[in-house]
């Protein structure tokens, strides 16, 4: 088992013909993900190394039965692409695009919440279920199948922590990034509730960062709803107020959204917080024992 992506995933990539889209789409395909289609308006009828391209998402879904869409189109067109995928009946949309305007995402988020399509991202690295499917830009070769579920706002930090955990002998049920933007389709709570329900997952690791109050709300959620052990990491203790730290969402506003407050909130609810990526792996070993 795993969450969100697996052997049933049939992937369509919006923007497959672009440089990044081609690179990562084929990477996902080579990993074993069932890449069934690409969508690029005006390039319908072409193909990318055998994967057919369609002018519209509706045609792609109609012809191939795609159920998962990865969005790689540039920011000005990304909201439209997400809405198109939802309208075409896609179950899961993974939006990699960074820099989508917040107001676009407010509309998209509100619209999607009222339907049955799940959005992960935007500005996220995607989701990898080792041995089953990889949808996104996570370098899969660091990870193997196992019982740790990992969810993060950040990409490279995910790999850093994931790798530390892997070196302690663990594999992963799924590894996912929910994205560094202020309005994301999937929250920590959403992802953790999926890991809680996933029989393969025995330990959940969440990597938060400064900005917003999602980590705080997640702490409350975990205390009330999660039976599996959860370990957290929070980045940005050193971040000064008012400065955006790379991610659009990573900003301390006044006294709100600090790493210290988040770590404190999590620890108050019994979630152990690693001081650095290495310590996260050490706590994981303590929690469920190394399989190495």
């Amino acid at each position: 088992m795993s969450i969100l992506v697996d052997n049933d995933t049939k992937l369509v990539v919006a923007g497959l013909t672009g440089r990044e889209g081609t690179f990562h789409g084929l990477n996902n395909k080579n990993y074993g993900t069932d890449l069934v289609a690409g969508v690029t308006p005006g390039k319908g009828g072409q193909d990318v190394e055998g994967t057919p391209i369609f002018d519209t998402m509706h045609a792609a879904v109609g012809e191939t039965g795609a159920n998962t869409a990865m969005v790689f189109v540039p920011p000005p067109f990304a909201a439209d692409s997400i809405l198109e995928a939802a309208d075409a009946g896609i179950d899961l949309i993974v939006a990699i695009t960074e820099g989508i305007p917040v107001h676009d995402m407010l509309s998209v988020y509100t619209h999607l919440k009222r339907g049955s399509t799940r959005l992960v991202g935007p500005n996220c690295p995607g989701i990898l279920s080792p041995g089953k499917a990889n949808v996104g830009i996570i370098p899969a070769h660091f990870f193997k199948e196992g019982n740790v579920g990992l969810v993060s706002r950040s990409g490279t930090l995910t790999y850093q922590i994931g790798n530390e955990i892997a070196q302690s002998g663990f594999g992963n049920s799924s590894i996912g990034g929910i994205g560094g933007d202020p309005v994301g389709g999937t929250s920590f709570i959403d992802a953790i509730s999926l890991f809680e329900a996933d029989p393969e997952t025995e330990l959940i690791v969440m990597c938060g960062e400064i900005g917003g109050d999602e980590e705080e709300r997640t702490a409350d959620y975990i205390a009330e709803n999660v039976s599996k052990p959860v370990i957290a990491y929070i980045a940005g203790f050193t971040a000064p107020p008012g400065k955006t730290m790379g991610h659009a969402g990573a900003i301390v506003s006044g006294s709100k959204g600090t790493a210290a407050a988040k770590a404190e909130a999590l620890e108050a609810k019994g979630v152990r917080v690693g001081r650095n990526p290495t310590e996260v792996a050490e706590i994981a070993v303590e929690a469920i024992g190394s399989k190495a």
């Binding site: 917040v102 988020y109 490279t156 400064i210 940005g236 971040a239």
Partner: protein, 379 residues
């Protein structure tokens, strides 16, 4: 991106939010000419992005040209809470009957816009919140339905303002919401929102933050500059397309990916060091970007050692290593470097660095080890 008052008021004016007549000025003479044009009395206002300008002496009433010259001269160059005043806004003086507070903010937790209103305006909001938390009224707005008349009525009645201004205040809030949406704002704050003697509603101040990601559809806003806000390193980084934030320590830091860089700053701080900057070289960092990044980091004279912390996913460690070698060829490097390369092509990267044998470059295998080393070297 935070706007200065006069910039925010330009956005207001084009979206139908009533504002007093006014004019920006960067010199004493321009200020006096603007005041002559507007007619007296005028208010001379320091343009800095910080509250409490009035208390600091940055806002002055002037009844004639002489007074404008006097105040403008005093205010230009003034330091207000660490911000130097480079620009003034000369505004027609308003007839003040009441001072309220109004704002439209993006509530990240609810993932909705939120309208805020209080009849206690003209003072520090956080002070009001402490003194009388009930005074600040809020409603969430469904972004697909938008601001409705009932939202405005509810805020106005709950805040307890006089009945005769309920409708015009509601109309003002609707216009502020229009501005918030049309101009891709993250925050629109008016403090004070004025009721004049003639019972008209006017925005006397404007604190506006716009979404940097949406600037492509607002070319006018994208041109706004804040002369007081431009750190030379940040300016240089921006021109080179790098994500850089200046901090006040001495350990220069480069990493790939925002989360990893934040984590690197933390680990350096835990090891007892003080980071000099945040610099995300991005996914897939190419040699060119590395050279640029090294130049930006080293342009800060405080930097006494530099840490490269790379976990290669899309980024290839060999390319980073080549970039560093190239940078050492182009830039005069006088501080020690600690490099940690892990992930994609890490062995190849480390081999390149070993072959190049760059002076002052130490290679470490782990993030914690690298942090300890750079702190030691930075002194």
């Amino acid at each position: 991106m935070d706007l200065l008052e006069y910039q925010g008021k330009q956005l207001f004016a084009r979206n139908g939010v009533p504002v007093p007549e006014g004019c920006q000025a960067a010199t004493v003479e321009a200020a006096a000419d603007a005041a002559d044009e507007l007619g007296y009395p005028v208010v001379v206002k320091a343009q800095v992005q910080v509250g409490g300008r009035g208390k600091a002496g940055g806002i002055k009433l002037a009844n004639d040209r002489g007074e404008v010259e006097e105040h403008a001269g005093a205010i230009l160059g003034m330091d207000i809470k660490g911000f130097t005043v480079h620009e003034l806004y000369i505004e027609k003086a308003s007839d003040i009957a009441e001072e309220y507070y109004a704002a439209i903010v993006f509530d990240r937790g609810a993932k909705k816009p939120m309208a805020m209103f209080s009849k206690m305006g003209g003072m520090d909001v956080e002070a009001v919140a402490e003194e009388d938390p009930e005074a600040m009224r809020t409603v969430h707005i469904d972004p697909l339905i938008g601001f409705q008349a009932h939202h405005g009525r509810r805020l106005a009645y709950e805040a307890g303002i006089a009945t005769d201004v309920v409708r015009p205040v509601g109309a003002m809030l609707a216009k502020l919401y229009d501005t918030f949406v049309a101009e891709d704002c993250m925050l629109v704050e008016v403090n004070p929102l004025l009721i004049t003697g003639a019972r008209e509603v006017v925005a006397l101040d404007a604190k506006v933050t716009v979404d940097g990601s949406a600037l492509y559809r607002h070319p006018d806003t994208a041109e706004f500059r804040n002369l007081g806000d431009e750190d030379p390193q940040e300016q240089m980084a921006k021109e080179r397309g790098l994500t850089y934030v200046k901090l006040d320590g001495n350990v220069g830091i480069l990493g790939n990916g925002a989360g990893l860089v934040m984590s690197t700053l933390d680990v350096v701080a835990q090891a007892g060091g003080r980071p000099a900057n945040f610099l995300d070289a991005g996914g897939g960092s190419k040699a060119d970007a590395i050279v640029s990044a090294v130049e930006v980091i080293l342009s800060d004279p405080k930097v006494s050692a530099v840490l490269f912390n790379i976990f290669g996913g899309i980024t290839r460690c060999d390319e980073v290593a080549n970039g560093l070698v190239e940078a050492f060829g182009k830039v005069d490097v006088e501080v020690p470097f600690v490099v940690r390369l892990d992930g994609t092509n890490d062995e190849e990267g480390r081999r390149i660095l070993a072959d190049a044998a760059l002076e002052g470059v130490t290679v470490e295998k782990t993030m914690l080890g690298a942090a300890a080393k750079v702190v030691e070297l930075a002194g």
